[in-house]
Point group: C2
Chain length 683, copies 2
Amino acid sequence: MTQDPLIIFTPSGKRGRFPVGTPILTAARQLGVDLDSVCGGRGICSKCQVAPSFGDFPKHGVTVSETALSEWNAVEERYDRVRGLKEGRRLGCQATLQGDAVIDVPPESQVHRQVVRKAASARPITMDPATRLVLIEVQEPDMHEPSGDLERVQDALREQWQIENVTAGLPVLRKLQPALRKGEWKVSVALHTPANSDKTMILDVWPSLHEGGLYGLAIDLGSTTIAAHLCDLVTGEVRTSSGLMNPQIRFGEDLMSRVSYVMMNPGGDVEMTNAVREAINTLASEIATDAEIDANLIMETVIVCNPVMHHLFLGIDPVELGQAPFALATSGSLTLPARDLDLTALNAEAQVYLLPCIAGHVGADAAAVALSEAPNQSEDLVLVVDVGTNAEILLGNKEKVLACSSPTGPAFEGAQISSGQRAAPGAIERIEIDPDTKEPRFRIIGSDLWSDDPGFAEATAVTGVTGICGSGIIEAVAEMRMAGLLDPSGLIGSAEQTGTARAEPEGRTNAYLIHDGSADGGPRITVTQGDVRAIQLAKSALYAGARLLMDQLEVDRVDRVVLAGAFGAHISPKHAMVLGMIPDAPLDKVTSAGNAAGHGARIALCNRTARQKIEQTVGEIHKIETAVEPKFQEHFVNANAIPHATDPFPDLAKVAPLPDVHFGASGAQSGSNGGGRRRRRRA
Amino acid sequence: MTQDPLIIFTPSGKRGRFPVGTPILTAARQLGVDLDSVCGGRGICSKCQVAPSFGDFPKHGVTVSETALSEWNAVEERYDRVRGLKEGRRLGCQATLQGDAVIDVPPESQVHRQVVRKAASARPITMDPATRLVLIEVQEPDMHEPSGDLERVQDALREQWQIENVTAGLPVLRKLQPALRKGEWKVSVALHTPANSDKTMILDVWPSLHEGGLYGLAIDLGSTTIAAHLCDLVTGEVRTSSGLMNPQIRFGEDLMSRVSYVMMNPGGDVEMTNAVREAINTLASEIATDAEIDANLIMETVIVCNPVMHHLFLGIDPVELGQAPFALATSGSLTLPARDLDLTALNAEAQVYLLPCIAGHVGADAAAVALSEAPNQSEDLVLVVDVGTNAEILLGNKEKVLACSSPTGPAFEGAQISSGQRAAPGAIERIEIDPDTKEPRFRIIGSDLWSDDPGFAEATAVTGVTGICGSGIIEAVAEMRMAGLLDPSGLIGSAEQTGTARAEPEGRTNAYLIHDGSADGGPRITVTQGDVRAIQLAKSALYAGARLLMDQLEVDRVDRVVLAGAFGAHISPKHAMVLGMIPDAPLDKVTSAGNAAGHGARIALCNRTARQKIEQTVGEIHKIETAVEPKFQEHFVNANAIPHATDPFPDLAKVAPLPDVHFGASGAQSGSNGGGRRRRRRA
């Protein structure tokens, strides 16, 4: 008796013997090999492409001849003619086994393909989205055995894809009959299976094979900015990212002023709810236009946000979040129809997933950061700081993770800063000040040139220099301190004290001129004393929160720091440490994670198991409520100086030796660059 | 060792021994006795009232003394003082067992109480609604162990009521926090558990004990009329019934003209969808006002309707239902949020349940009739006819049930009839014509007097005599035939031929004057030749459908006939048989079931298990498509005469010996009352 041919799949190494004539896709399925298919083996979708290998495979003990697979058939030839098949590729549903074979499944043919993240702390995302596309062939109706078109679609999904418990809402019921008839009883359906559910919902239906793709939006809904990534739900790729200001700003810059607005203005929550939902619709439409896709193909949205935004977005009065015990209406994750949230720009059946909140002040955004940065999987003690209008702070390792939030205010995002603006072309994002000449050079978003590089004016002519964004203001204040323009208490020296005309009087205090565009009708961009104070308040709050968690863990140092935030990728670790935003740590252990909350949202969008995982993780995080901890106030006050006066910063000296200047409030007390006393700073 | 006291519950007879001091409610629960409680034993809701019995119970072998239960306690005293406790009643959660006891659970204290139906074919409804009320006590929030208010509500439901998998939508999330605080952490929640689901949804929440009740609407959505019952979801009682015309009539009187309207007018389905949804909102508001309840307390609606109404109500283009193979978009039952159907008059989270459809022409209304009349449980062969614009016909017994529908048109509902009107005060509903004098007497809706009774004019002065309703026109035509005013072909004789001046010429044909109110500015009410023709078409369609099913079962006779319909209760079996609406059957075996579709809707509203049952039954019914059966046309043509000419009516002669008149189309041919030939009628 001759044995059936052997098939070996790479890279999985799975192997088995199958009768001659078995389609490769069939063998793959039976062996549990991760080989994609939308059309279920009908030679339509081309997702099951495989690359046969020929020759000797000593590792596997086989030699494979060119005749291991069947000849190209008519389906493959037509497919190649019409759409082109890559050299060496076969359609797994058409090619059949004729002899021993070694078959490679290229990454793009794997259902659970991995999407590698660009950032340094990259962990790849495994594609396993809640929404996916399948093609089915549906029985035609028979008036003598009447059943609904939906019921025959359900039968097809059960028989052809082993998917049970399928439902469809009204928008799909409305489209189903024309789609079936136009597709001659073949339709593509977008299926959504929420986390923790055995029910599947048809979100949309198209005649025959739908080739327009399926998309999802990962939204980081911040108090000040709303950032969104448009993700391809098949490849996991980010197609476009975009952002806009949160229009709720007109009701109050920080969260507590918005809560107060509601308390003072009955119905104010409804205004704010409408404003933010409208903004998300605008953002979704814009991002779809940018990516040149139909916004109706956005099937899912994952939203992460702080608790007040969470409630305001859901239309829940946030008043309980403004007073102890800061009770959330709901802390669990939510899956809701987008239309119940007035997100009409998306698909009519689009689903919205909100990550769980950790506590009344520590929201779904912090949960998303935890999902992205996984402190609960860290061997060493990591401090994760998500910088925004409210800072979310996580501290921990595999043993234990603590979380709190700290009200930093909008200064880090460029709001409440005299020349502040959202990170957009024209905004200063990098700045250096020469310690000797006190002259600045800077870079703006949209150009790689520094302001003193030749051709800068021409290269930036379109946008001009419009203001300073969040990362820019952090660098500006830190550079001012390093250049001796600021004393440790945060006072800006006068022209006389600093020896530069860029230090200009402004009322009873001084300001530092970074750029004067007034000759060309542009703005004069300065850092005022008020700006420095706003940054000091913000960084003290951030620092105090981190210290509070360290107190709880009874540690004085952390092994590493991860800076995250909508503009987190742009914060310079050195400047953050000079400013005293974060506790002391070796500079090479301070990394930027970019928009970790947004990335966490993207993970939840691309992988439904991640949703279950974060729901569990959130339950295990220990929550610290800063608002009622007396130590928080103490840390806050002590952290005001740059660097602050009470805590040890052994590593900071290696980073930036700070000049020991001191400017009196009246400007009467003089300072110098080199000499004078160092205020309680330890080397 | 002394034994624990014995407790015996009546009427269930369940018994057991429990330690002294066990509350009666606790004992009842452990024994599985059906004793209601909303507050879970907190002495608040009074649902667990029981009636202890004292004395000798030889059947049970016990003698019960007055000290078998604990003394009245403070809770019972307060309850009695504030709301009054019926003589001999105790609160089951307060009274504790002290000795052997016999405890009666009165019907109103049973959760699964039975609601007895008034109609003759009554089968009681066992209360087990999908929506119910419970009171819970919720943990207060703790900022050091933060969790959402909803999550603590879920905990309370799990711990206090053993209810798992509870979710809440946005309208409840919005109300939850104020309700919890106002109720001092005690709230009542309305819980909805759909059929075939292990998930429970909170539909609404109220501070402390909600005493406003919970209601449901059972709606029979007909092509011509919409009828609704407002049911108390606790007692099952019908609080109010009401109806209005289906406003879609302006788009076409029968279903096929509405389907044509859509085909001719793109967007026409949207107009019709909006019209019918608006009508249901109006009806719900009116019915709530009538019953003096808040329409927000309507938590559920069960809707039954034919397939075209089903699709138009759901917003699905009905065009496929207008052509073979008459494919439904969906045939299964549906549970949908009322707000997705724009039913804004109800509770914000109200749920709509639509019964399954049987086939493209046999809808959820027929399923409801099957649920109400249960032909599948009948020992004898029963024909159930639901008379409406489309007649649904069921024929069968325990062995097999067949179903079809027949396009009778709106004549039976008083539409397309010259003096026709909806069944409302002022409409003629009963009529008798003296065979000798040819003089009519009649009764109108709203008065028990006949028109020749003394005081009729005064009693009916408010409404006047306004027209003829569906049951009235059936009687009128049948009486005209019996009085010799009509010949078997349906022709109305002239004054000369009939010998009465009430037979008036109308164009080239004749009409019969029933009532002349013109002297008082009222209408002249006549039955025209066109009216008779419309009724003939309608009854022929109905008869042909019934015959078709009989052919399929190969039977010539049925054992009994059930007449149902929105106005079914008012049809006189004798007149229906004279008219030839239904196949021949012993008169005492022809019964009226009233609005069986509406009653089926009410059963589904009050008992969620019934929903599962009808979904199964519908799958077992054999569907016959009249539109493509050549025999249907044949039966239809043959059934045109009154009585028709081809089929045997042995029982009819016992009911009404019909005069053998014959009027020529020109009126030239004379007829007589007594003599002449009988046209193919067999005695």
